[in-house]
Amino acid sequence: MSDSSYISRKQELPLKGENTSLFLQVIISIAVFIFAITLSGVLSIDSMIDNWNKSILGSLTVQIIPTNDTDKEKSRAETLAYQEKAVDFLKSVNGVIKVTPLSDDQLTELLSPWLGDEVNITDLPTPRLIDVKISPDANIDFSQLAKDLAVASPQASLDNHKLWLNKLIAFADGLNLIASTVLLLVAGITSGAIFYTTQMSLGLHHNIIEILHIIGAKDTYVAQQYAKRMAFLGFMGGVIGLFFAIPSIFFIGNLALAIEGGIISDAGLNFADWSIILALPLFSMLISMLTAYYTVKKTLKKML
């Protein structure tokens, strides 16, 4: 028979028919599912912290504590005078773009969730607030500014928003750490499963591997066949895991939005975040491939 072009090449190691293939694919699918959900959480928290930072980076709030006088009118007049001094001082500071003292109506609106709409704040010793916008590239020493402000207007205090956010950021960082640990554990468990199934498979195909070695195959030749197979299982497992993870991410996102909390609504996934999540099958393919490759290389050194 002179024409042998019909002959198709088969892999020497029958890895396709192995019982462990389905098991591994399920493990990888579950791992990628958990990985995707956790990763979306980590990325959302990161974007939330980023949004918080952005929102506070360009603004300050100055609070004018009302003077302690039994005469309400006199106290209000003194407080407004301190506010005026503070405004004048702030306008003179380099890097300050805009200084806006909040009006009575604006203060009433701010307090209405707690005091109701019917309260006249002029009857109450409420602090006055000044919203200060600063240039993003301004290099302001906030500690010195607070001291100078206190001199210019003794009833004024500076809030650069960092203080109260620091606790939230610390909490978010904690969540991030836990999530990152979960990601590492998931990747580790998946690699472990691949490691042990590959070792089992090497034992199962010991005879074929011995033949391959005797005819001169290097360890790399065997390792490449395993790497190829595991890359396929890793990718397909990744696609399946992601297929279930994406609707789940949207579902969790909608639940978070339904809370209507200003802080949580800052969380979200941008294009880059989605690109990372959608690339997970490639990541699982790479992990599977490399784990199998190095497991084979390491095990063969002991086998023959």
Partner: protein
């Protein structure tokens, strides 16, 4: 061991399995390039063990082996693989890969060397035709008869035109006509420079071909030359 014309050299080689007694003791052997030897001995004398040392499937329990002038004590895994590519082996139990076709089994040594697939097809088809297996190229080896498997195993061993050919009972499962043809193939390869060692029990083959005989007896190795009927010297160095 100094560099010389010997394909294989063994010095004081012993082999044992686990903590058992030595199967082979104090083997001294030198196979010159282009030589042809039969390996004989009773069942259990250690022929397969000696061959496995020659095709680098195991290391000796003691002593020194040099193959293609490489001292195995100082040869790493990568180098071992390269040395094995220069050795063709025919196993008594064939050791074919059952789920592969005859074609793929014979193509294996070429593929592990990374040869171009077009060249592989040409060479394998030619050789399988020569051993009269052209109609079975696509058949899985598990479906072939003993004789056909043996021919596939021989084709796999010689496809790479090895420098050293080791065969364990290569004609044990074929009829006399095919056996004669296969022996002719080994002789032709030998004429082209391949060093050949054939383990056999067949007196007919040994008598028909006038080559020296390595005989394993009492854990030692002895040499008989074709013209002699007695052991010569005990060791062949």
């Amino acid at each position: 061991m100094a560099e010389n014309n010997n394909i294989i050299e063994m010095n004081n080689v012993g082999i044992r399995y686990d903590q058992g007694p030595e199967i082979l003791s104090d083997i001294k052997l030198a196979l010159p390039q282009g030589s042809f030897h039969f390996l004989t001995g009773q069942s259990g004398a250690g022929k397969t063990s000696l061959l496995s040392l020659m095709y680098l499937a195991q290391k000796p329990s003691r002593g020194q082996i040099s193959v293609f002038n490489h001292n195995l004590n100082f040869t790493n895994r990568e180098q071992l693989a390269s040395l094995r590519r220069r050795i063709g082996v025919v196993f008594q139990d064939f050791r074919l890969i059952d789920h592969l076709s005859a074609f793929d089994n014979v193509a294996l040594p070429l593929r592990v060397c990374g040869m171009d697939e077009h060249e592989i097809r040409k060479r394998v088809t030619e050789l399988l035709t020569w051993v009269e297996l052209d109609s079975h190229m696509q058949d899985k080896t598990s479906t072939l008869s003993g004789g056909e498997k043996q021919r596939v195993a021989i084709a796999r061993a010689v496809i790479n035109r090895p420098d050293l050919l080791l065969a364990d009972e290569p004609t044990g499962n074929v009829d006399n006509i095919i056996a004669g043809k296969l022996m002719k193939l080994f002789v032709e390869l030998n004429k082209l420079g391949t060093t050949v060692v054939i383990a056999t029990h067949s007196d007919k083959i040994i008598n028909d071909f006038a080559y020296p005989r390595l005989h394993l007896q009492n854990r030692g190795l002895h040499i008989y030359y074709p013209s002699d009927t007695s052991v010569l010297g005990g060791l062949y160095v």
